[in-house]
Symmetry: C4
Subunit: 216 residues, 4 copies
Amino acid sequence: MEKTAERETGRLEAFSDGVFAIAITLLVLDLKVPRADSLPPGGGGLLRALAKQWPAFLAYLTSFATILVMWVNHHILFTHIRRTSQPFLYWNGLLLLFVTFVPFPTSLVAAYVLTPQARTAAAVYAGTFLVLALVFNGLWRHASTGRRLLDPAARAASVQAITRQYLVGPVAYFAAFLLAFVWVPGSVGLCLVLALFFAFTGALPRLFERKRSESS
Amino acid sequence: MEKTAERETGRLEAFSDGVFAIAITLLVLDLKVPRADSLPPGGGGLLRALAKQWPAFLAYLTSFATILVMWVNHHILFTHIRRTSQPFLYWNGLLLLFVTFVPFPTSLVAAYVLTPQARTAAAVYAGTFLVLALVFNGLWRHASTGRRLLDPAARAASVQAITRQYLVGPVAYFAAFLLAFVWVPGSVGLCLVLALFFAFTGALPRLFERKRSESS
Amino acid sequence: MEKTAERETGRLEAFSDGVFAIAITLLVLDLKVPRADSLPPGGGGLLRALAKQWPAFLAYLTSFATILVMWVNHHILFTHIRRTSQPFLYWNGLLLLFVTFVPFPTSLVAAYVLTPQARTAAAVYAGTFLVLALVFNGLWRHASTGRRLLDPAARAASVQAITRQYLVGPVAYFAAFLLAFVWVPGSVGLCLVLALFFAFTGALPRLFERKRSESS
Amino acid sequence: MEKTAERETGRLEAFSDGVFAIAITLLVLDLKVPRADSLPPGGGGLLRALAKQWPAFLAYLTSFATILVMWVNHHILFTHIRRTSQPFLYWNGLLLLFVTFVPFPTSLVAAYVLTPQARTAAAVYAGTFLVLALVFNGLWRHASTGRRLLDPAARAASVQAITRQYLVGPVAYFAAFLLAFVWVPGSVGLCLVLALFFAFTGALPRLFERKRSESS
């Protein structure tokens, strides 16, 4: 039984990895080359035109960092999980739905961050990450409640640490969502800071801490 | 012989997985950011413009769910199959042809569902899924007739259950196709309901039922 | 040594598979949804507008079939090959360069097949496949000359059969290339026929013939 | 411990491979089919219109060759590396960020190489490769300093050879970057020459040299 289940996890992971890799690479399509006829004829206006696209580059960087951290998180999750279940597949499908969706709000915030509609765009952007954080919690809760799908070797301390850590996401992205209505640059900036924060203090260190402690 | 054949299945699956993963991720390109110059100058019109795009979001969700269920189905199929044959490769190639095609009718229905051309768009959309259901049946029939390519360990009851279950698809999608000519929202809605229905009562439960019963 | 080399082939194959899978899936982006404002206001014009896009659908089908057959061919090749070499990597890189290029002439022929520029578009289309056939020959010649990179278990008859079979491609696509200048539909149609011909009489049967004979 | 770490490297490599494969295939989207209404009505203008797009084809070729060489380099790197660490994951993430970014400057240089803004476009293009070369050095330095993450079997001579070889990249691409301000064709051409140079004298020969010497 265990062998079959593990193999099923392998396939699910490979498919998920493919979706993550494609979604993260499609982000570049949101970067648009400035149209030549929109530039002043003298030359030298291209750098200024590119500089004016800074919201697109910022959104690209933020979404890239966020998807990368989510991919690392997804793998940490699966290092603790041994079996799958039907609801687990739904949660994972829901997660992939919003992962593939990320290029759209990224494009939206890049296009509207300097316009009067910036609040709406920033709220949709932070709101997407809020939903992703909630889905990640649902996925983990389903797998970890009563150690339902966990690897018997997963240490209780590691499991609890992930549960605690996952609570930060929804709260922080809800703050970014609310901030969108009062201070747009702060909301988008907070999303970037959160991705870097999770990368440097959350997901990645946890990955190695766990491996070191469990393999020793 | 068996080892070689199994390896060949592995490659075929990996290639098919890649195509499924890319097709499901490309769907996001059908979601278009509303053009800034089409909005009222005051601000606040973006949310309304996004809400007006609900057919695109609905089509995105429906196509995503359908491709995901097809991917799960494809895997269930391959857990029963041990060998490949030339016609089997054609059937699989035909399946991938229509899987990669899905973003086009998705885009079509999103663009036309609110116009006088809605019937045509919805008929093409449901028609694509009808063809996919037929190709899935052809693929399975070729593999299962006389247990031609099946794993010797595949239980007859599981095989028959899949055969029965696969008959639902063509009938249901033919109904959605016909419905497109009289009630467009019903046709598109039926496609979404079918994807969810197959996910919750068809493919996924079967996957786990089979594994539990066969591994016990 | 053999183990290391085999693993290196595995990576090369996986990377190549990814490129094939993505290129075949990107073809759908060449299918454009007809613009709503180009249709007659009464409704019912969408089907006619789609029908008028038949060159795009034909080119989609032809390119899909051709890339799929090339993928199968690529795998057959690698079932005979055990080692890699530096020139082999260049040949494979050149092959991937033209595989990723296929969506462009596909788009070109779809856009221009009904215009006075049809000859140029069809010549570029057939010419791309001609170059691909030549690169495939180069790749195979490098690997098979003096059995340089071949699996010791590869039978001489199989190797010679592939060498003979590969000669058909350049000649046939050169005919399609020439035909583009006198009869455009014939040239594009020949490309589709060739893909189907290779699928049904060339690559795929060979794959199974080989496996059966060598594993017995 | 070693087994777990090696598995983690495998996942990281598979994810990176996916990103490389997608980025290299997305380059084709920068090749635009000339608009039919921009051609002279007589026919025969298509070839001239395509020929006028030579900067796009040159940029496509250059970026394809560069990403391919980077992929080979990435693999050579991982054949020497046995473990991962948190900073190593950051370096690899930074590398992937710029790999997925390559289609944008490619598109930029294709659009502007014949305009008065050519210098800016060429500087951004060469600058992207300069940053990539620097990130590659950072990744390797982190892994190889004190043999931190290296495979114990990695020979000191091979490691030193890679370190020496990696110094060429930043210097050469910095020259291409400077050249962009005085001679645009020279700068873009140098990027292509560098990719071919690394392919024929750098990465690929090294790959085989290493394997031969270490496996003997």
